[in-house]
Symmetry: C2
Subunit: 325 residues, 2 copies
């Protein structure tokens, strides 16, 4: 592997000159620049990024922490985050905590060791400690407190839209699958939904999903159980995957959707458009969530002020699991 010294020798100049020529910093005569470029090409010179990183104390890596990479919400979010980071010249290092003990802690420690420049986290803060904040952290949908910027969807709006859909659809007894995290912004969605339902005299049956247990298997299984247990409801509000689990269980029991049972999902991932009928759901704006969190991260890294408004609107996607009038 040719190093900068080899290039310097071949071009008959000093290493400093090579560095300047290749980085376009400082003054270089056109002539020597050409010589250097030629030498670099001839030797197929590639600067060793490790040396550069040590000097700059920066790697251009951003770590992404997610509970589960297989879940359609996180898979899609990761895609958008990676793309957005790429636009700003950052590389994406990913950590799927799954249910592995201590994985969050280990990952956060890497931040202290300068492995990456910052972290975008979609998981809860491990333990009760404040994170070291020497390098920036931005969270998505998770409250880490301590002035750490949190980008999230407008879940109050989501709960409200879902409730309105249920009301217009004429539901009288609704199954509501929810989950609650550490001061999570999600709770707004459930709170608002409950309030509106109660205010209109709609009966509510609730089941709590384990927080942060993001997996298809779990979601489908719990959805199935709930539908069996509360077989007399005429409406369901749950996350996308859970909603599909409910629909499958109901169809298996001989119910018709939406004639006997109306279903509203939450998230709006691609899977909602994959079936017939398509799933009516509240869509989170994943591209925008990714965009804003990356912008915030970059601003933090550059010491600039970051966007004030970190709340992203949601939208209704009308699908075939609700009877529209």
């Amino acid at each position: 592997m040719a190093g900068i010294k080899d290039v310097a020798r071949r071009a008959g100049v000093g290493v400093g000159t090579v560095s300047r020529a290749l980085n376009g910093s400082g003054y270089i005569s056109e002539e020597t620049r050409k010589k250097i470029l030629e030498a670099a090409k001839a030797l197929d010179y590639q600067p060793n990024e490790l040396a550069k990183n040590l000097y700059r104390n920066k790697t251009d890596f951003i770590g992404i922490m997610m509970p589960n990479l297989e879940h359609p919400f996180f898979a899609s979010l990761l895609k958008h985050l990676e793309l957005e980071l790429y636009r700003y010249g950052y590389k994406c290092m990913v950590c799927s905590t799954e249910d592995i003990d201590n994985r969050e802690r280990e990952f956060l420690d890497m931040l202290k060791r300068n492995v990456m420049d910052g972290i975008i986290a979609c998981v809860d803060l491990p333990g009760d400690e404040e994170p070291e904040t020497e390098r920036p952290v931005v969270t998505l949908e998770r409250n880490w407190g301590g002035g750490i910027p949190m980008v999230h969807s407008d879940h109050a709006m989501g709960g409200k839209i879902a409730a309105q859909v249920m009301l217009e659809a004429g539901c009288r007894k609704v199954l509501h699958l929810y989950s609650q995290g550490k001061d999570s912004p999600f709770e707004q969605r459930h709170r608002v939904f409950r309030e509106i339902m109660s205010a209109h005299g709609v009966q509510l049956v609730e089941a709590e999903a384990e927080w942060n247990h993001m997996s298809y298997g779990y979601d489908l299984e719990m959805a199935r159980r709930c539908v069996r247990q509360y077989s007399d409801v005429d409406g369901i509000f749950a996350s996308d995957v859970q909603a599909f689990g409910c629909m499958a269980a109901a169809l298996e029991m001989g119910k018709r959707v939406p004639e006997d049972l109306q279903i509203v999902g939450y998230d709006g991932t691609e899977i909602t458009r994959m079936t017939y009928p398509t799933l009516t759901c509240i869509c989170q704006d994943l591209p925008r969530l990714a965009q804003v969190s990356v912008q915030t991260m970059v601003a933090l890294l550059e010491g600039k002020p970051y966007p004030e408004d970190l709340v992203i609107p949601v939208a209704l996607q009308k699908g075939g699991t609700v009877r529209w009038t």
Copy 2:
């Protein structure tokens, strides 16, 4: 940020001693070791990995190249790869090429710049050039030639199983959605499937999906078009996502699955178990694919021989989209 010098000063020893104590290399008296450990703890010392990387010329990063992180097959594969790399102490750097021009090339160049120790690639080799092989590359389901190890499923077996299912189900006219890459091992699946179908006099209608255009939207749209166009088939063989697209289009047209139309998917991702009826499909063994490719990568990095057999068996998942007798 406390450095090794600070620790040395505080413990009243030289930096070399601190390094040895903390890495457990060389001889250290129990007494000074204690002093050093204390000092390190007191200062919350974290070794700067950038310096270590430069010295070792190694980062413990493995790059993962994928065409699309949102697609359930790749999302799931990534999850397993990341987990497996973690087991071996490697971190996972991810690159989603999407359809971005030159992204593969750029990512491969990072390998030359020592940004990562190796690459596991699930995309085609850009251009016709041989990749620099100074640092190891392993591919998953992609043929990069030049002695680069390729881990892949036993697609001949997959094609055979799918064909047998179709025959047993009594299909007489089958729609076959396929795609072909650069010398891809996938082709076996299509070749074997065709051969068996023809041998038994089953009529075959084929539609080619664009290679490497891995996205829900595209898959669903093309599936819908095909089902409309070939509305008289009684069986369909396609990838998971395409299969769902076909099923949705057929249901929308008033057909019944599996009574009027039987469907066999390929991949066996989580989405196949999400609906009612569940999708009959050929399952690739993603955990095993990940395991073998990571083992191969690690062996390459350590200069050891790697597993000979890089072909992973597939299995049939019986679902409700086929009439079982």
